[in-house]
Amino acid sequence: MDKVLMSHGGGGSMMQSFISEIFIEKFNNEYLSQMEDAALLPGKTVFTTDSFVVKPIFFSGGDIGRLAICGTVNDISMRGAKPLFLSASFIIEEGFPIDDIKRIVDSMVDAANEAGVQIVTGDTKVVEKHSADGIFINTAGIGILHDEASVSIKNGKPGDAVIISGTIGDHGMAVMGDREGLDFEPPLLSDVSPLNKMVEKLMTLKDAVKILRDPTRGGVAEVLYEIASMSNVGIKIYEDKLPVKESVKSACSMLGIDYLHLANEGKLVCVVDKDYAYKALEIMKDDKYGKDAAIIGEIDDSGLVTIETIYGTNRIVDRPIGELLPRIC
C-alpha cells in the first residue's frame, strides 16, 4: 500500500512501524530515538508536541481544548517532569463558528489554570472550507525534570509492579459513544485530565518510579507492548484486577471492542519498584484523578504481554493494529 490509511494513525502496531520507518529513521537523533512521550534535552528541559483532531470536537466530559492542554501536560509529566509552558497552534476551517472557538479557548484556559501552565506562544491558520474538519489544535510544551527523576520506557525490570491510575477506556468509549449514539446512564464522561499534580507527588518516590506512560491512542494494551519491547521484558496483568466501568465493559461487548484498546486521556500506567508499589498506589489514590488506581500486574521475563483471565487461564494480550472498528460478526 502506497497511501496512508486510517490505521497508520490508530495508535497500534501499524502506527509504530510507520513512525519508525518514516520519521525516526530519517530525523535520526539521540533524543527522538528515545521513543518517549517527550524528549529530554540538555539542562533537564523536557519538550513534547501533539496535534489534536478529535471528533466530535465537544464530547461527553470534555472538548478538544481541554484535551489539547491535558495531552501535552501529561506527555511532559510522563517523562518525570513538571510542565511549565505550552504553545497553542490552531488550524481552523473557514466557516467554523467563532463562538465555538471561544468555548474551546475558555476550556483551554481552565485546563491550563488547573495544571498551572501558561500558554506563551501561538499560531492561527485558516484553511478553505472542506480543507479541514472544523478545528485542529497543536500544543507543544516545555517542562523541567523533577529532582532525581529517572523515568524511562527502558527501565522496566522483572518483578516491578504495574499500576494504572484509574478506570480503563473512559475517554475512548465516551467519544465512540458520542459518535455511535450510545446513551449511558449515568453519563459516561471522558477522563480527560491533567496528571501533572499526581506525577509531582509520585516523583517524591524518585527513581523507584521507573516508567510513566499515558495510555492514549492504542490504549493500555499498546502501552504495555511498548514497555515490553523498549525494556526488553514481559508483562503479566490480571483480568480481575483491571478497573473498568461496567458500562464500558457492556459497550465493549456490544461493539466487539477490547477495552484495553480504548484511549484514556486522564490515566497513567506506572511501573514501580515492587517495594514501592503500595506507596505509589496510595499516592495515586489520594489524588483527585487516582481514586480507582490499581496494581494490575508485574513485569516478568517472558518477553510476552499476557493476561490471566478470570478463569485462571493465561493468554496473550491482543495488540491493537490500527483503526478501532466496531465488530459485528
Binding site: 500500500m1 501499524m14 478463569y311 491482543d318 472498528l325 466496531p326 465488530r327 460478526c329
Partner: protein, 350 residues
C-alpha cells in the same frame, strides 16, 4: 464461576483417555471466546477444539470481495460491517478504496445504513450483506422497510450464507469430527432442529452452545457424554428454542430464497446461500448495478484458509502463520477478521 469451571474441567479430564477426540466449534464467536478465555488450556491433550467455517468475513469468496471493491470504485456509497474493510482483494481492499476517496462507511447495524441512505437521498447506498442467519433477518428488515417506504437509493449486495449445507459439506465425504459445538445465535433464529441431519445421516452429534466460558465447557461435557450416542442438544436453552424465532424465519423467507453459494475454502455449495426474491429485485444491488463477479484468484498463494475453515489444519500449521501472515499484514481473511481462526490464534497466543 470459577467453581463451575473447575467442576467442568474435572469432568472433562475424565475423558482424557488417550483416545483422540476432535470437536469443531463452527462459530467464529465461539473461536474468539475459546481463545479469549484460554479454554483450550483447560482441555486434556486428547480433546481438540478445532475451528470451522463460522466467520462470515472469512468465508466470503475472493471474487465477492473483489466485486464489492469494484462496486466502491463506481461512486456508490458502500455500507458495511467493520472487519470487511480490511480484507485484501486481488489488488485493493475497501479501506484502500476509502483512502483513495471512495465512499466506504462502516455501520454497526444494517438499520443504521438504511437510515443513512434516507438521510442522504443524493447518495446510492449499497449495503454489503454478509453474515449467517443471525444477521440475515436484520438485513431483511432493511429491504422490507425500504420497499414499504419506497426508498430508491438503498440496496443490498447479498452475499449471505446459511449454516446447514456448509456443515454437511464438511462431513459429506467422511470426516474425523466427532462432535459440533453449534452456533448459539444462528440457532436462536433457526432453532436446533436444522441440525438433525448430522445425527441422522452422519452419526455426529452437536450441542448448541452459549458464549460464556461456562456455556462452552458445559457444552463440551455434553458432547463428550453423548459421543457414543450422538444427539443434537441445546445447552443455550435460555436463548435458543428448538423451533427458533419463527417471526425472523418468516421475514427471511419473505425477502430471500435459497441459492447456491461459493464459500472460500469450501467451494460452491448447493443451496447454501440466499438471493433476494424477484418481488424485491429493485433492492438487489447485483441486479441494480449489474454486478459481475470477476475471475478472481480463488486461492491466495500459500494461504491455507480453506483447510483452516474445513478444520483440516489448525492455523499454526499454516506455514505463513505468524511469519508472512500477521494481523498487521494479513494474507488471508482468516487473519483479517478479528473472529477469524488465524487472528484468534495469533492474538491470543495459542
Amino acid at each position: 464461576m470459577q467453581g463451575i469451571i473447575n467442576r467442568a474441567k474435572e469432568l472433562i479430564d475424565r475423558y482424557n483417555t488417550g483416545e483422540f477426540i476432535k470437536i469443531m466449534e463452527v462459530c467464529g464467536s465461539h473461536t474468539m471466546a475459546i481463545s479469549k478465555y484460554g479454554l483450550r488450556q483447560i482441555l486434556p491433550p486428547n480433546i481438540k477444539l478445532i475451528s470451522g467455517p463460522g466467520c462470515p468475513v472469512c468465508v466470503t469468496a475472493q471474487n465477492e470481495i473483489d466485486a464489492s471493491i469494484s462496486l466502491a470504485s463506481q461512486g456508490v456509497t458502500i455500507a458495511t460491517f467493520g472487519d470487511l474493510v480490511r480484507v485484501p482483494g486481488n489488488d485493493s481492499s475497501l479501506q484502500e478504496e476509502r483512502a483513495k476517496g471512495k465512499d466506504v462507511r462502516v455501520f454497526y447495524s444494517p438499520l443504521d445504513a438504511l437510515d443513512y441512505a434516507m438521510a442522504n437521498p443524493s447518495k446510492e447506498v449499497v449495503f454489503i450483506g454478509i453474515g449467517f442467519e443471525t444477521t440475515i433477518p436484520s438485513v431483511a428488515m432493511t429491504i422490507k422497510e425500504a420497499y414499504t417506504r419506497k426508498i430508491k437509493n438503498y440496496s443490498v449486495y447479498c452475499l449471505h450464507k446459511t449454516m446447514p449445507k456448509a456443515l454437511e459439506a464438511l462431513v459429506v465425504n467422511g470426516s474425523d469430527i466427532q462432535g459440533f459445538l453449534l452456533p448459539g445465535h444462528v440457532s436462536a433464529i433457526t432453532g436446533s432442529s436444522i441440525y438433525g441431519f448430522l445425527v441422522d445421516k452422519y452419526k455426529i452429534g452437536g450441542v448448541v452452545s452459549g458464549f460464556e466460558a461456562t456455556d462452552i465447557l458445559m457444552s463440551v461435557v455434553m458432547i463428550l457424554k453423548n459421543l457414543k450416542d450422538p444427539k443434537i442438544e441445546i445447552q443455550y436453552k435460555r436463548v435458543v428454542k428448538e423451533g427458533g424465532n419463527t417471526e425472523a424465519q418468516r421475514l427471511m423467507d419473505e425477502i430471500f430464497e435459497e441459492s447456491d453459494a461459493e464459500w472460500r475454502g469450501l467451494g460452491m455449495i448447493e443451496g447454501s446461500g440466499l438471493k433476494i426474491r424477484e418481488k424485491y429485485s429493485e433492492y438487489d444491488a447485483e441486479k441494480k448495478f449489474n454486478i459481475k463477479k470477476p475471475n478472481s484468484r480463488t486461492e491466495i498463494k500459500g494461504c491455507r484458509c480453506g483447510d483452516v475453515l474445513k478444520g483440516l489444519i489448525t492455523p499454526k500449521q499454516c506455514p505463513l502463520f505468524g511469519k508472512a501472515c500477521t494481523p498487521l499484514n494479513p494474507v488471508g481473511p482468516c487473519m483479517v477478521s478479528s473472529e477469524g481462526s488465524c487472528a484468534a490464534y495469533y492474538k491470543y497466543g495459542e
